[in-house]
């Protein structure tokens, strides 16, 4: 692994990430962020370089001659090995990113398709509709098939779907048993 020592702070723009995560992934994002921040705190609490030892004090108090010198030389010469990524997590993350970026590009293509379809839909609704005072029954039947104004609908041309028509007494009427049938 590279001997690049990462400084103990986050390079991730958490505010930006929090702003752009969708609502259902906010919890996951928060847990990642807390994990990162506990790690940063832990790293900051530990020494960054080889901690200094008070050799002068030991030189005065330790009676054995040359012992302090020997230890000092060894301590300064000792190279602490930087831990290596033995399992290969970095490669795994690289692979994951490659795969996810392919899927991301595909999903972006899908989203642009839907975006364009929605825009053309809005354009049609803005332009290709008759003005309010030029609507006819025929137009209603053709523009909105399957609704109240469709000849195939059994409720065709009955009372409209307004409260004053659907509430009692019309609500409980039985068609074919009105006053006209009793004449």
């Amino acid at each position: 692994m590279s001997a690049a020592k990462r400084v103990s702070s986050t390079a991730v723009n958490w505010a930006r990430l929090a702003q752009h995560t969708p609502a259902q992934q906010a919890d996951a994002m928060r847990s990642v962020r807390s994990r990162c921040e506990t790690l940063v705190a832990k790293v900051n609490s530990l020494p960054a370089d080889k901690p200094a030892i008070d050799w002068a004090h030991f030189a005065k108090t330790v009676p054995a001659p040359g012992l302090v010198d020997k230890f000092r030389k060894e301590y300064e010469a000792f190279k602490v090995p930087y831990p290596r990524d033995t399992e290969g997590w970095h490669e795994l993350i690289d692979e994951q990113q490659k795969r996810q970026s392919e899927i991301l590009s595909k999903s972006q293509a899908l989203l642009t398709e839907v975006h364009d379809a929605a825009n053309s839909y809005l354009k049609t609704l803005d332009e290709k509709i008759p003005p309010r005072d030029e609507w006819t029954m025929e137009m209603l039947c053709l523009y909105f098939p399957g609704t109240l104004f469709d000849a195939n609908n059994p409720d065709f041309n009955r009372t409209p779907n307004l409260p004053e028509y659907t509430e009692a007494p019309n609500k409980n009427r039985v068609p074919g048993t009105g006053l006209l049938s009793k004449l």
């Binding site: 990162c36 790690l39 398709e113 839909y121």
Partner: protein
């Protein structure tokens, strides 16, 4: 005591590298085989499939409406529509102009060129006069109801006409809106919502992707950094402990020697005290006490 000392187990003095190896944690094992595939995938293939299904569904829904509206617009307002001979019939917001509440203004306009402004009024006056005078219109007692019914009707219309007109206009407007205006507006709102949603997702997803992977790599690197710093601290701690041990050892030796010497000196002194010296010392003490006693009293 030698056998007891021989049973004390002292820890083996490890070299620094060996000590570091001894105190390091083992790395978390990466997933292998199908679990590795799952880890790389993170369920994204399924999500992509569902997204494709959503896209298909949305597109068919939107395009069915779009195609229908375009086709019908072409029929009603397209190039084959004859606007000169068949102009579109518009719903008038107000009724045509009327005079005296019931007579259309167009009738008066038709007379205007030939008879001027007063023409229709004179006709309205002259025709009943002619009919009455020639007894075509017999004014019998039953006809007197006109004297009451016509004013009554006029009064009713004058009093309630506006109110009734407003009520009916409101009903008609409500119907018109509920059937034409509101559905179209709802459709437009849903279209705008969809546009906004897709735009925000198009913008956000790459950002989240990039930042999330930065965070992942950062967590790995921070863990390595933490381990490195723990090793540094461990090395320093070990060396200091050895030094402190030597310091403590020397101090312990010195204090033992001091104590032993002091004890030896004291033992010597106490041994060298003869009984004669003791008696003399006691006598001296008693004399001194006697000398002090009168002073205290």
């Amino acid at each position: 005591m030698a056998s007891l000392a021989s049973r004390v187990f002292l820890p083996k003095q490890l070299s620094l590298s060996a000590r570091l190896l001894h105190t390091s944690r083992a790395a978390l094992a990466i997933p292998k085989g199908p679990e590795r595939e799952e880890f790389i995938d993170q369920g994204s293939a399924k999500i992509l499939k569902s997204m494709e299904a959503w896209k298909e569904q949305t597109k068919t829904g939107l395009s069915s409406v779009t195609e229908r509206f375009e086709r019908l617009h072409e029929i009603y307002y397209g190039k084959d529509r004859d606007f000169t001979n068949y102009p579109p019939v518009k719903m008038q917001p107000h009724m045509p102009k009327v005079r005296l509440g019931i007579l259309p203004d167009s009738w008066f306009q038709a007379f205007y060129n030939k008879t001027g402004v007063l023409g229709p009024y004179i006709l309205a006056l002259g025709v009943p006069t002619f009919l009455i005078s020639k007894e075509y219109w017999v004014l019998d007692p039953e006809g007197m109801v006109l004297l009451v019914s016509v004013p009554a009707l006029i009064a009713f219309v004058k009093k309630y006409g506006q109110r009734i007109k407003e009520m009916e206009a409101k009903k008609a407007n409500e119907l018109d809106e509920s059937v034409i205006v509101r559905p179209i507006e709802a459709a437009k709102d849903s279209g705008r919502d969809l546009v906004r949603l897709t735009e925000s997702q198009l913008q956000s997803f790459p950002i989240v992707f990039e930042e999330a992977f930065k965070a992942k790599r950062e967590i790995l690197d921070l863990q390595l950094e933490e381990e490195y710093r723990r090793r540094l601290a461990e090395v320093a701690r070990t060396v200091e402990r050895r030094m402190t041990y030597h310091v403590e050892l020397a101090a312990a030796k010195k204090s033992f020697q001091q104590q032993h010497l002091v004890q030896w000196v004291l033992d010597g002194v106490t041994k060298s005290i003869t009984p004669q010296q003791e008696k003399e010392a006691i006598q001296q003490c008693i004399r001194e006490l006697r000398a002090l006693a009168p002073k205290a009293a």
